[in-house]
């Protein structure tokens, strides 16, 4: 053990020999702090995500998703879209969308990723490095497009964390992020500016799917 570690832990233990009483022991098991959902999770998510300037679209199936992506890319004149997820690429390709010309995230105009879950209460996208997109794809691209399925919706952050604990157990990915809308700052006179270091725009395409 390093001497610094030894000394710090020793000081801590000496200090804690004098305990202080629990401030609110009766709240030890309190769990619900947030207002419950009043509507369907799809609507709850769409409303909260849109409020934070996220762009939401609902698709009945992969075919419709491919069509919508095609229209979006066309309207923006995108020729360089980056995607690292083989399954998404394959599914989109099968349905007629294969505009993935960008070799890397540095030069792309937009990136497409999947996600672990959507959190309806806060309008957030939960992503981890357990997925191929890794740490960089969803944050370095100027536009982030997330593809999610209706069976990936949960209400609260707590449900998201429980899901990750169940899914990964002792193998939690090295990076987890709860991303809520486009990158923003209010560092100059508390004036909201969107698109600082992360994406300027975030799209979420929610595709109908029944839990398999």
């Amino acid at each position: 053990m390093s001497s610094a570690k030894h000394n710090i832990l020793k000081k801590i233990r000496q200090a804690l020999a004098t305990p202080v009483p629990a401030p609110f022991p009766h709240h030890e098991n309190a769990e619900n702090f947030f207002k419950p959902s009043q509507q369907e999770l799809e609507i709850e998510f769409a409303e909260n995500f849109t409020k934070l300037l996220g762009k939401f679209s609902f698709c009945a199936d992969m075919k419709e998703l491919s069509e919508q992506l095609h229209l979006l890319a066309k309207s923006r004149n995108w020729t360089k879209i980056f995607c690292r997820e083989p399954e998404i690429k394959h599914d989109l390709h099968t349905n007629g969308f294969s505009n993935f010309e960008s070799p890397d995230v540095h030069t792309c105009e937009a990136s497409i990723t999947d996600c672990e879950l959507l959190i309806a209460r806060t309008g957030s996208i939960l992503m981890t490095t357990g997925q191929r997109s890794g740490r960089t794809t969803s944050v370095y691209a100027p536009v982030h497009i997330c593809i999610a399925y209706t069976d990936q919706l949960v209400y609260d952050i707590k449900d998201g964390i429980d899901f990750l604990k169940r899914k990964y157990r002792d193998n939690i990915p090295s990076f987890i992020t709860l991303a809520t809308g486009p990158s923003r700052t209010a560092d100059i006179e508390k004036t909201l500016v969107v698109g600082v270091h992360g994406p300027k725009e975030v799209f979420c395409f929610l595709v109908e799917r029944n839990a398999s």
Binding site: A4, H27, A30, T177, L178, R184, D187, I188, H197
Partner: protein, 459 residues
Amino acid sequence: MSESASSFIVKSQLKARDLEHRKKINFNIGKYNATVPVGKEQFSDVLLAREKAKQVKWKAIEHLDKYLEQFDIETSKRGTKVLWAETAEQALEHVGRICKEKNCRTLVKSKSMVTEEIHLNKFLEKEGIESVETDLGEYIQQLDDEPPYHIVTPAMHKSKEDVAKLFAEKLGTDPAATPEQLTLVAREKLRQKYVQAEVGVTGANFIISDIGGIAVTENEGNARLSCAWPKTHIVIAGIEKVLPSISDLALFWPLLSTFGTGQKVTVYNSIITGPKQANETDGPEEMYVILLDNGRTNLLANAAAREALYCIRCGACLNACPVYKNIGGHTYETTYSGPIGSVITPHLKDMDEYKHLSYASSLCGNCTEVCAVRINLHELLLENRRESVLVGSAGIAERIAWKAWKKASLSRSMMNMSNGKVKNWVVNKMFKSWTRSRSDLNFSQKTFNQMWEEFRSDL
């Protein structure tokens, strides 16, 4: 009087009369005050949430040794190297050694108060390493060669015109640029830096024991980029940042966001448990976590003040403090300003040198009222005052005056001896330092005893 105290008094007097400063701060804090209630709407019972949060932090701090060791074991399993530092110097030594090993020329840094505390940028400059602040507010402050004004909003004291002028001088941009344009300038400049830098440094809003991770809260994406591109990620965290479990974040993330900026949650809330793992596509090859004491164990050893370690640095007490709003963040000349800074600095550094900060309070209690984790801040300020007197750092004149005051106040006959005129003279003429920045006290012409007798006979 300590050097810090004299400087503090001079600077506060100047700032309190600076109407331009007051206007900018009121504007910024006004915007904050307008958004916080919106963030609070997400809670079914915000008081319960705050009390629960205090209970969780109590548990974390009362078992700090256990949780730090658990963190160390868990994160080491994924290849993170945990380093311990008793002092700022030891922390800087660790950073210096890692940077040398990695041949670091450029280092990107996300916003972190603990790196301010150890003066990391100054150290790196001496080592010949370019340290780039990537948070927009910190970037502005770095360009202006000024420390952060506020723990959450570093450039709160600058108007958009001030920032445009600064960018024009330092970067040659249009002096009439809007906040949107200025933000874009910073974006373009910094995007190259993330990819260039050999090392990324972040702080940690929370240390998560059960999974061996650290959590970082931000809005801009600069912290995510700082721990995505560089090959080496260094985290510097105060040992008090511990939360027992990843599950605690479901409460602490929204709480920090609401009290920090009025958001439900900030844009990015990330957890990092290690460097890139074998099956992952990108991320740093190495990750270091430096656990810093630097006086925190003094605070821990003080059972009365220990709860100050529960602070999650949301900045709410700064925004709520009438003293902070008038004298501003820089006047404190400490890394942590406002009520929480006044509470912890004397313990982290030196009671005698910094006790004056505990008197920079009207004891209105608004800091306690707004604290996200219900720390009894104004009582801790009183506690500091008491301690500073106990250790004998009050002046002789002050001690004699209070002794006389106590004697007189405890004795009804002495209180009855003089009428209002005499009392006015004693207080207003003898205690000159009281009336220097306050109007004269005006005692009642009748003593309380006289009034009480009259009141009773009227019944």
